[in-house]
């Protein structure tokens, strides 16, 4: 029990609060649990009143969705997510380096400019993006999404990477320089290994946002380049009959990123508040 916070509370109150924590957590998590559970049902078990918690599990639904278009959507999503994340890191690392280790006088202005681009609504830009993509034949093309997702994630990456780099003590870098390291050696041999966990966390958070993005995907892609959330749109109309199948598709769509988020959860706050809170 954390004594300093639990001022003047008895053991009973403590137990009640712990139980309350568990109840709320299980309640919030329930839709996710129910999704995974329903994904293993036959349709007849998914559609019952009262709902069934015990049933004979099947992989039938996963087979059905994966052989029916979801695989192609997953491939598109994977490609868009990984390519945009790689680009984000490639552009973000030098920028973060400049902002954390060799800042110009107006470094804070640059930093807040990046931040402000993340706050502007995508709907304010979608019309010209659509018209331009149409005019240069880039509609329904994965590369259009790669470029746009890079732009969306870049401010987050710059802020996160910058905050990790600024934590590297100046003395360490100076020591390397005294030992005769060039700027390039200093960056690759000293700095990169030190911030490797930070780069990984940043990449994971970019992956989460890119994988889950819906608005740009649904407006700019159709069949060929459709990503996983666009594939799910097909279930809006057929929902009446296929809950188990929908749950299986949603499980495939949601679980990889859920795991990535859990791995990176220690750094999640930093990414979400763009470095305002460490």
């Amino acid at each position: 029990m954390n004594e300093s916070r639990m001022v003047g509370t008895s053991k009973v109150t403590g137990t009640i609060l712990s139980a309350l924590g568990w109840i709320i957590a299980l309640g919030m998590f329930f839709p996710v649990f129910w999704m995974v559970l329903t994904a293993f049902k036959h349709e007849r078990d998914a559609f019952t009143s009262p709902p069934q918690f015990i049933f004979k599990p099947t992989l039938e639904q996963f087979d059905a969705v994966l052989s029916g278009g979801l695989t192609a959507a997953v491939a598109n999503s994977l490609w868009v997510t990984l390519a945009s994340t790689a680009l984000v890191i490639a552009l973000g690392l030098p920028a973060a380096y400049a902002l954390a280790l060799r800042p110009v006088e107006k470094w804070q202005d640059v930093l807040f400019f990046f931040l402000s681009t993340r706050m502007l609504p995508v709907v304010g830009a979608i019309v010209p993006i659509y018209v331009i993509a149409r005019d240069i034949n880039m509609l329904d093309n994965v590369w259009t999404l790669v470029i746009l997702y890079t732009a969306i994630n870049l401010p987050i990456a710059v802020w996160m990477l910058r905050s990790f780099m600024s934590e590297v003590p100046t003395e360490v870098l100076e020591a390397a320089r005294v030992d005769g390291a060039t700027l390039k050696q200093e960056a690759v041999k000293v700095l990169l290994p030190m911030i490797a966990p930070g780069i990984a966390a940043t990449a994971l958070i970019c992956v989460i946002f890119a994988w889950n993005e819906f608005f740009l995907a649904v407006t700019l892609t159709a069949v060929r380049a459709q990503t996983v959330p666009v594939y799910l749109v097909g279930f809006i109309t057929s929902e009446g009959a296929f809950w188990a199948r929908l749950s299986a598709a949603a499980t495939v769509a949601a679980v990889p990123v859920l795991l990535a988020g859990w791995v990176a959860q220690r750094y999640l706050v930093r990414g979400l508040t763009l470095g305002a809170i460490k």
Binding site: N2, G8, A95, W107, P121, A151, D179, W243, S247, A254
Partner: protein, 334 residues
């Protein structure tokens, strides 16, 4: 990375560094910033300028050659159209409702998780799941397996309370969207507020306990004031993101029934991608951007107030040192 200093030994680099001018040093420091900066300006700023331009044109993609200058026509038709005002109202209600609810739920969760107890890590991990699950997928599941009037879990759970076969998505559409958005954003608020709680100085709370303050008193007069700026940050960031709500409306209600859940982004989507009216959609886009800028200005102010990094500030290029050196060089030359 700065490539100017290649594989030269340290001594040579020093000598070279000593001889460079302020302008050179600035260029060298600015270099690594440029790719990201230029990319961001082109991809994120230009479209807004073009949106502004389009908003002065009457232009429908379904009628080729229909593009002509219309000055403020789009704005007058958008601003006199009742659907835009209804969408604005929906946007405000949805944003206010979801932000307030998610901050409250997030605060409760943060306070509960801030204590040490059995399985605290697991509870925290379970609590952040709603934020990570793909919103499009989660929305579809809420609409079907959770909120279906006959077979949904929610009505089954509520049935002992006498709730019948309520069709949430059509009888209470806005409440449904607010609930789904709150479920999604509460973990985000919890993480921000937890960050705030953990940055609080515990010895102050200890001192309050010694002075026999009650739990409520030390929460009300110590913790809450400390949390204030974190709550503000959560509110403004939440508002910026929730104003843009699209996934859940698209998946659950398609803006309906009628226009009861059509917010500004969804209205813009309909104008642009169902009616293909570029001009009016662009004018709507400008309205949304202006609204967002008002909130974003406030958000940026809060973040810049919380943001300090003295270490980085100390690394800024030393202008006076360069100027002194250059003056000395000039004197020597003269």
């Amino acid at each position: 990375m700065a490539t100017s200093a290649s594989a030269a030994p340290a001594g040579a680099m020093r000598r070279k560094a000593r001889s460079i001018t302020l302008a050179q040093e600035r260029r060298r420091r600015r270099g690594p910033l440029l790719p990201a900066l230029i990319f961001t300006i082109i991809v994120t700023q230009l479209p807004f300028v073009v949106t502004l331009v389009y908003s002065f044109f009457s232009w429908n993609l379904l009628r080729p050659g229909s593009r002509e200058f219309a000055f403020l026509d789009n704005y007058t038709s958008v601003l006199t159209d009742s659907s835009m005002w209804s969408a604005l109202l929906v946007t405000v209600l949805l944003t206010a409702g979801a932000v307030i609810a998610s901050v409250l739920v997030g605060l409760v969760c943060a306070l509960l998780v801030d204590r040490k107890f059995l399985g605290r890590g697991v509870v925290r991990t379970l609590l952040i799941a709603p934020f990570l699950v793909m919103p499009a997928a989660a929305s579809l599941l809420w609409k079907t397996t959770m909120l279906n009037p006959v077979f949904g879990i929610v009505n089954w759970v509520l049935s002992p309370l006498g709730v019948g076969d309520v069709d949430w998505a059509s009888q209470f559409p806005l409440l449904t969207i607010i609930t789904v958005e709150t479920w999604h954003w509460a973990p985000f608020m919890m993480l921000i507020l937890l960050g705030g709680l953990q940055s609080q100085d515990r010895s102050i709370l200890e001192a309050a306990r010694v002075d026999s303050a009650t739990t409520w008193q030390s929460f009300r007069y110590l913790t809450l004031p400390h949390l204030r700026q974190y709550i503000e940050l959560g509110v403004v960031l939440g508002a910026i993101y929730i104003v843009q709500t699209f996934d859940s409306i698209f998946m659950i209600t398609q803006g309906g029934p009628g226009t009861s859940t059509t917010n500004l982004p969804f209205l813009l989507y309909q104008e642009a991608f169902r009616a293909f009216d570029v001009g009016e959609a662009a004018a709507l886009g400008v309205v949304v951007v202006v609204l967002t800028i008002i909130v974003a200005t406030y958000a940026l102010r809060i973040i810049s107030r919380m943001f300090t990094d003295p270490v980085v500030a100390s690394r800024v290029v030393d202008v006076s040192m360069f100027q002194k050196r250059e003056r000395k060089a000039e004197e020597a030359a003269a």
